[in-house]
């Protein structure tokens, strides 16, 4: 129901930010975020950043999987 794509904030100007989405620079509304900053990775839906992406959790699934599989064996 809600296509969203990740992007990186390059520069901010008021409610909008220039965001790099896999090489495409788009103007994205960032008024839904608390204190957005340049370099932040954000999730973009309907032209709005709806959340900051937590890069620390990029491999979360892999970690969970590894732990669980190890438990079995």
């Amino acid at each position: 129901m809600c296509i969203a794509v990740p992007g990186k904030i390059i520069s901010i100007s008021g409610y909008y930010a220039a965001v790099d989405i896999m090489g495409v620079m788009a103007s994205v509304f960032i008024g839904l975020l608390e204190d957005p900053k340049e370099e932040d990775m954000v999730l973009i839906h309907a032209g709005c950043a709806i959340q900051r992406i937590d890069q620390e959790h990029f491999s979360y699934l892999e970690k969970v999987f590894t732990v669980m599989q190890e438990e079995v064996h």
Partner: protein, 334 residues
């Protein structure tokens, strides 16, 4: 020209029509066959097999990133001849213009057609101009028909399981550029139509015509539709490897943003080639040495399933059917 808009009189067949034709078309297309032509243009040719094709162009916007309706109209027909294995020779140009259309824009379009025709070595030798009332058309529509002579060594051949499928460059460039321009999307990045004549690519493959089974240009409906047409023509199924499809990162990104599948977006300067496996890598190499063939790829092969489906497989082995286009593509958000 002391008027700046097309009027109904320009389409009446009388003096205004003649003046328009001389001022714009004779000037830009400038060749003797056109100027000599009365009801038809005349050309000479040796015995052989000829290709004949037609397309109408109704693209909006008329001027887009990387081209315009005129360039597109010439490329479209040149490429339809080229992928039929023919050397494109002569084009016709049939215009339907809405009353009130700026003559300056018409002049730019004609100039662009002439330049593209030159680049691809064809001549526009016959034409027709109709003007319809304001509100009865949307700006300008262009029909081009074309005649070419077939490479003697080329015939379409029976497509067999194992034949490889080559695409000569990155896909969805035209469709993406047009979507961006049409919806006025506020995104930066290099989005340009790939609109270009490809007859020189096919010409470069002259030595390999015995190994080429079929060629198509994946225009309306994109590569997905072209592959389905090939499958249906061959009576065989096709197996594509998603990873091998050449697509620029920005094109992928913009389409992801819009929720559009780039496999259904038009290319206007690419060919899909079905080639005998024995020579397909050589053919690929031959394409890749060309300036506009560097991104060419073997994207899949013909299989012998009981159906004429196109299957597409991804990096982890996930497989699905790639259907022909249904309906139209619109940007999605949900």
């Amino acid at each position: 020209m002391n008027e700046d808009k097309i009027t109904l009189a320009h389409g009446s067949g009388g003096i205004s029509t003649r003046n328009l034709i001389k001022d714009i078309f004779y000037r830009h297309f400038n060749n003797q066959k056109l100027i000599d032509g009365l009801d038809s243009a005349v050309f000479e040719a040796q015995s052989g097999r000829f290709a004949f094709t037609t397309d109408s162009f109704v693209v909006k916007p008329i001027f887009f990133s990387g081209g315009d309706i005129g360039k597109l109209a010439v490329c479209g027909t040149v490429n339809d001849l080229a992928v039929a294995g023919a050397k494109p020779l002569y084009l016709s140009c049939g215009l339907i213009i809405e009353e009130g259309f700026p003559i300056g824009a018409l002049d730019r379009i004609a100039e662009s057609m002439a330049r593209t025709a030159d680049a691809s070595g064809v001549k526009i030798i016959t034409g027709d101009t109709k003007v319809v009332e304001k509100g009865c058309a949307d700006g300008i529509f262009i029909n081009t028909s074309g005649v070419g002579i077939l490479d003697k060594s080329y015939v379409t051949k029976k497509i067999m399981p194992g034949d490889d499928i080559i695409v000569t460059g990155t896909i969805a460039e035209h469709g993406t550029a047009i979507s961006r321009d049409r919806y006025g999307l506020k995104v930066d990045g290099s989005f340009m139509s790939d609109c270009a004549p490809i007859n020189h690519i096919i010409k470069a493959l002259h030595g390999y015509m015995e190994s080429i089974k079929l060629m198509k240009d994946p225009t309306r409906g994109g590569i997905a539709t072209a592959l389905n047409e090939i499958a249906e023509h061959a009576g065989k199924s096709i197996h594509i490897f998603e990873e091998n499809i050449p697509i620029r990162k920005e094109v992928q990104a913009l389409n992801e943003l819009l929720g559009i599948d780039p496999l259904y977006l038009a290319c206007e300067g690419r060919a899909v080639i079905v080639a005998d496996k024995a020579e397909s890598t050589e053919i690929l190499a031959r394409i890749r040495v060309l300036d506009d063939g560097k991104e060419a790829q073997i994207i899949g092969c013909v299989e012998d399933a009981e159906n004429t489906n196109v299957y597409i497989e991804n990096f982890f082995g996930g497989k699905r059917i790639l259907a022909s286009l249904e309906g139209n593509m619109l940007p999605r958000i949900c």
